[in-house]
Structures are given as structure tokens and as C-alpha cells.
Symmetry: C2
């Protein structure tokens, strides 16, 4: 395999997670150590920074400050939601990327994102190949949705799952300590896949969780839902429901009040307000106090509850991507394989062709959801529990988080 010498760009895309920066740390450290990589650049706001030649020189960062990225939430390099056009329809953006690559002698591109980002990676890789520009492109997975195809799980999911499970346990205690009737509805992120919503069942495993859980993998029926709530409420005087923002009826229509005048850069409708909507419906049926809770951003940025297993694997994903690329791999995404060694969970990495991953969605298997479609089976607990292990290693100063503070020194073209 021919050695390829040149600069690398590392970028982040889409919604952040509690451990996405651990992947950047892994990639940056591996790149700084690789003799084949001449310069290590961080893209300001993902692909937009590459388009606009806004690149940070990562070698200017203090190594000990960089290490804090292991437990710093959100995308430290900045993120974006920008869908590039199909290069066969409009190659403008791709030509701009090529210009940046040439100006900075970029031979390695690492993109840390979800489904859409893997699609972006794949298109960039194909375009560079077609234009005879030698370049290795690797995807580093991340998503709290856990819906990337071909990998056992995705970095970012487990920390969000731990947050949801822990918060559900705490809310269960709070919502059940009054002597009056109470229905509590918690809305969890996840547009098409219910992995994160299902993680509320970990709270049941630990002794205090929701009575009912609804995932987008099963068509939602309002009458069945109301019957479920009424049955639990009549039996216990309480009812605790966890519901995915992405639940939809049998025709695929979101139950959530889709805000039609607002969507993200990929044309997905922005969801939200579902818990409030369901609460209104329940109030018409049950004469209890009904409370809607939407943890919103809190669930994806709670590094203070990060799983160290998750952070470690996120780091590993970043490092593996760089090491594989300098060794000749391209057009691949790092994926996780689950091994069971002497009864213990062990995670290993593998590489998947980008085009086998891009734009597919992995959903919770139907057999992991109960027959009634209002709860989760033990198979899910067995799957998720090993992933959330390990207390956060977040650095604390004065009892508050000490997150990384990067200098973000802009780089100048080298060619």
C-alpha cells in the first residue's frame, strides 16, 4: 500500500451528543501522532468550515486542554446541518471542497456524524476519486438515536440512555410521592428509531420506571393509548408514560404537532410538543393532574451522566478511523461489534463500506417490544445495560464541570 502524505481535516456534523468530542480527541491524537499526516485541521462547523476554508490548526491546542474533550458536551469544533446537493446535479459545493483540499493539501477527511453525514462522506469520496484527487475519507459514527446501520450501537447513544433511565427513576419517585392522582408523560428524542425511548425501561430494571413506553417502531393508536393509561391509572392512581417524539399513526402521520414552518437543513420536520399534546388528550379522559415533561436538549448534552464505556468507545472510533486511513483504508465507517468473553461485554471495531451505511436506518427489533406495543422486553435490557456502565470521568472544578476551552486558531493555506 502506497503511503499517502498530507494534511487531514476532522469535522463534526448534525446534532451533538455527550461524548462526540471524545471521538474528535481520539482522531486528533492519532493524527498528531501519525508521521503520514502533516497538519491536523478541525473544520469550523463541519462541512461548512471546509467549504469556507475555516479550519482550526489543532496542533496549536494545549494537549491537556484537548484531553478535556473526552468529557465535554456538544460539538467542540462546531456543527452544522447542511445537505450538499447530488454532485451529478450541482457539483458547486464539491468543487469548493476540492479547492480547499488542494489549498491545504488535505489527503485525509474524517467526518463525525450520523446517517446524513455518512452519505456526505460517501459522496465526497466518490467525487474526489472521479476527479483524480487522491484522498482517504472515513466516517466516525455518532448519534443518540443509535440508528446507524451495520454497527451494534453508536457512540453517544449510551450516555443519553443513561440520562433518560436515571431521570426516569428520579421522576418516578417524584411523581408518585403525592397522595393525589397523577399522570406523567415524558417525551424522548428519536424521530424514527425508538432506541433512546426504550432506554427508559432500564429504569424499570433498576426498580422505578415508567408504566408504559411507546416507540415509533409500532404504529400509535390514540384509543389504545388512552385505554392503557386509564387501566394503569384506575389500578394505581398514577400513570407514568414515556413516549418517543417520533410516534406516528398507521398512516405514518406524526402524532406530534409538527411545526410546519420550521425544519432542519435536511428537510426533516422539527418535532416537539408531543408530551403536551398527549397530556391534553389524557386530561379529557382521566380526572388526574397530568404533567408533560420534555427533557429537550438536556438528554443529549448531559456529559455529567456520561457512560465511560460510551466515551471510551467514542474515543476508540475516532482513533480507529485515523489509523485505518493512514494504513490505506478509505470510504469506510468505523462500526462496533459486540463480543461476549467469559460472559463479559467486550467491544471491538470493524470497518464498513460507507455506501452500505449511508441513509439506512436501524430500528429496534419488533421482538424486543412487547406484543401490546406499550413496553420493552428483557432482550433490550440485556443489549443496553453493558453500554451505560462506568461513571463519567468529567473533570470538576468548584463542583461544576470543567469543559474544554479550545483556542481555535485559524489555519492558513499551505499550497
Amino acid at each position: 500500500m502506497k503511503e499517502l502524505k498530507g494534511a487531514c481535516i476532522i469535522g463534526q456534523s448534525g446534532g451533538p451528543t455527550a461524548v462526540i468530542n471524545a471521538s474528535v480527541l481520539g482522531a486528533v491524537q492519532a493524527a498528531l501522532a501519525a508521521p503520514q499526516i502533516t497538519n491536523v485541521y478541525g473544520a469550523a462547523h463541519g462541512i461548512k468550515g471546509v467549504l469556507n476554508q475555516q479550519l482550526y490548526d489543532m496542533s496549536q491546542e494545549d494537549p491537556s486542554e484537548l484531553e478535556l474533550l473526552m468529557f465535554t458536551p456538544a460539538s467542540a469544533l462546531g456543527t452544522c446541518r447542511y445537505k450538499m446537493k447530488d454532485p451529478d446535479v450541482d457539483p458547486t459545493d464539491y468543487e469548493k471542497l476540492l479547492e480547499t483540499f488542494r489549498k491545504f493539501n488535505v489527503r485525509y477527511f474524517f467526518y463525525n456524524g450520523g446517517n446524513d453525514s455518512m452519505d456526505t462522506c460517501n459522496k465526497i469520496s466518490k467525487f474526489m476519486l472521479k476527479n483524480g484527487y487522491e484522498c482517504r475519507v472515513m466516517g466516525i459514527p455518532k448519534t443518540i438515536d443509535n440508528d446507524l446501520y451495520g454497527t451494534d450501537h453508536c457512540p453517544g447513544f449510551a450516555s443519553a440512555a443513561k440520562y433518560i433511565a436515571t431521570s426516569c427513576m428520579e421522576v418516578k419517585h417524584d411523581a408518585c410521592c403525592y397522595d393525589t392522582g397523577m399522570v406523567t408523560i415524558v417525551e424522548v428524542m428519536g424521530r424514527h428509531a425508538g432506541w433512546l425511548t426504550a432506554s427508559a425501561a432500564l429504569a424499570n430494571f433498576a426498580g422505578a420506571g415508567p408504566d408504559l413506553i411507546y416507540l415509533p417502531e409500532v404504529d400509535f393508536d390514540m384509543d389504545s393509548f388512552l385505554n392503557d393509561v386509564e387501566r394503569v391509572y384506575n389500578a394505581t392512581g398514577k400513570c407514568f408514560v414515556v413516549v418517543s417524539e417520533g410516534i406516528h399513526d398507521k398512516d405514518g402521520k406524526f402524532i406530534s404537532e409538527a411545526k410546519t414552518n420550521s425544519n432542519d437543513g435536511f428537510g426533516h420536520a422539527q418535532l416537539g410538543g408531543l408530551a403536551n399534546k398527549l397530556a391534553e388528550v389524557v386530561r379529557g379522559r382521566v380526572s388526574a393532574k397530568v404533567r408533560a415533561i420534555e427533557p429537550s436538549l438536556l438528554q443529549r448534552c448531559a456529559t455529567h451522566l456520561a457512560s465511560t464505556t460510551d466515551a471510551t468507545e467514542a474515543y476508540l472510533a475516532g482513533k480507529t478511523a485515523v489509523n485505518a486511513a493512514v494504513n490505506g483504508d478509505t470510504d469506510k465507517m468505523v462500526a462496533f461489534e459486540r463480543n461476549c468473553i467469559l460472559g463479559n461485554y467486550v467491544c471491538s471495531t470493524k470497518l464498513l463500506p460507507l455506501e452500505s451505511v449511508a441513509n439506512f436506518e436501524r430500528k429496534v427489533p419488533r421482538e424486543w417490544i412487547n406484543a401490546a406495543g406499550n413496553g420493552v422486553e428483557k432482550a433490550f435490557i440485556d443489549y443496553a445495560l453493558p453500554l451505560i456502565q462506568g461513571e463519567t470521568g468529567m473533570k470538576v472544578e468548584n463542583a461544576l464541570p470543567r469543559f474544554a476551552r479550545l483556542k481555535k486558531v485559524l489555519a492558513r493555506p499551505t499550497c
Copy 2:
């Protein structure tokens, strides 16, 4: 001082906190150890359990399980919002209490609550005295609102403050990592006092907090608010606002959409929906994505982020109440005094007459709020920072909380 021998009741009232059970633990352990106390009862759902003779025999609990109360959220004995009538108007409830006291030979009553509970304590104490029933009554403070009169701070506040500060730091990172305009509005609990909302400023102290903070201590003016948001947004492309649910205009009218058909047992309107309302208003002025976040119950039950200083002081408050009562004190609330020893924060307890506490509210001093009324001064940081110290001691099993599971064995009358 004459020794008073008999049973004690410990009850919890009002909204729970992350550490309210630490006070119950302190009180129960002290009561079980006190030779003057013959039986230790926990009231099921506060004063309602006393009225209905639903008392748990706390000696039946496993001591090691009881210890888990130190870091178990919500009210482990159950709580209520029940305002007893003035005994001069309708003594029915008080006569029922007296009946329970006689049946169980109760000579000590400890009530763990906020303003309204201290009023309840005071009335019970006066009624028993008037009816010649010898009994010692003590209040044990708790409230995330931190608004009890005469005490430096209240158990429960600091853990909620730590949750708000930590979450604000995390949300700040998340909300600022996109390259697009973003206004984020977080709504914090606190009907009349802004202590908890002000704690968002701790996030600024730690390097990543809100741009604007509005407390109920200052009349809220919508035009000034919109000007503030626009100014920050135009300068930075982002704006992060934290606002108390209890903000009101100069005529005292809540800005929140008060749900008029629903109120708690004390006749307070149930607030909520403020962040969404403000978000709507901001959308009319600034062409950015505007996100409303209401942490709701999460902020008062997050034992996973409890301050150990807070939990320890809550425990101390419970224990002090019992020890003071067996030594002859009655009609008092345990309060905290702040001492500065060699530059270090040291908390000590004192006793205050219940009637000096009941129904007063302690607010954030105006001079701790900036002149414009949209931020918090350093004096507040100096006040709050020592209170949030110490990582939670919450027990963890399988990476999830292991909260106390009480048997709750109902007691039978002894007389």
C-alpha cells in the same frame, strides 16, 4: 426541664427535593436512638397520614436500607399539599390530629416542609397547648425555592442549584455549537423568590452560562426583555436566557400562562408554559430558531447531581430537630447559620420560633441583582458556591441509582 416520654411522628409536606429524605434519615436515626422516644412513626403523605392514622413503624425498616434515604429523591414517606383551616374557624382537623396523637401516645411531631408547613406546625403546636396536650412540635426546613425566613439557606436548594448550573453549562455548549442563529429560553422553578433561577449564574462563573437572567424580584417588562434579547442576538448570533416561572409585570400579574382551572391545595395557581410563551414572543422579533426548555420535575429530583454539602446539612437539620425536642425545645424551626472560619464555609444550626418563620418569604436581595434586572452579581456566586460543593454520594448499582426501598409497615395504636 421535665423529661417527656412518648412516640414521635415524622412527616413530609409539599414539593419534594433531591435531599429531603436525608432530613427524614437524620430525624429517624436520632429518634430511634433517643431513650425518651418510645416509637418512631413516619406519616404516610404528611399531615394527611396523621389525620387518617396511617403511620409507618420506622423501627421495622432495615437500617442499611434506611441509610439509602441520604440520596433518594422525592418524599419517601409520601407527601401532600393540604392546608388545614384556621382552628378558630374550624377545629375539625385539629381534633382529629389530637385523637391520633392520643391513640399513639405521640409527644413529638416533626414536620419537614416549606413555608406552609411551618404555618401548619405553628397552628398544631398552639392547638395542643390550648387543649392541654403536652407535645413538642418542630419544623425541619426544606425547599428548592430557598425562601424560608431567618435561615441562611434551605436544605434542597443547593442540589437543585447545582442541577440548574450544570444543565445550563451543558445546554450552553449545545445551543452554541451550530453555525445558525439560536435563542434558547430555560424556565426555572420559583414562584416568588429567584434563588434557584439565579443559580444559573454559577454556570457563568464556571465559564459557560446564560446571557440574561430574570428573577421575580424585579418587575418584568416585555419590551426591555425583547430589547435585551435582540441586542445580545445581534452581537453574537445566539442568546441564552434563563427565566423564573414566577416573573410578573409591574402590577404583579404573572407573565406565565397561569392555568386558571388548576391550582395546588394551597390555592396557588399552577404556573408553567412561560418559556414557550416567551419563545413565541421572541420569534416575532428575532429571525432565529428559538427553543424553550422547561426542566420541570427534573430540577427538584436530580439526586444524581446532589450536593453532598446539601445532603449533609439536610441530615443535620433532621437530627437537630429531634435532639432539640427531646431536650425540651418546641415550637421551633431548625435554621442554618453561615460561619466563615479561616476563609472556609462552615454551617451551624440554630432554632427559630415557628411564628417568626411561618408564611414569610425570603427573597434575593435587590443588590445581588444587576441594575438592569437581567443578571446576577458576584455576591450571589459567593453565597451559593459553598453550598453546592461535594459530589453526590448516591449509591449506584449497574450504573443506575439504587434508591431506598422502604417496607412501610403500618403501625397500630398503642393506647
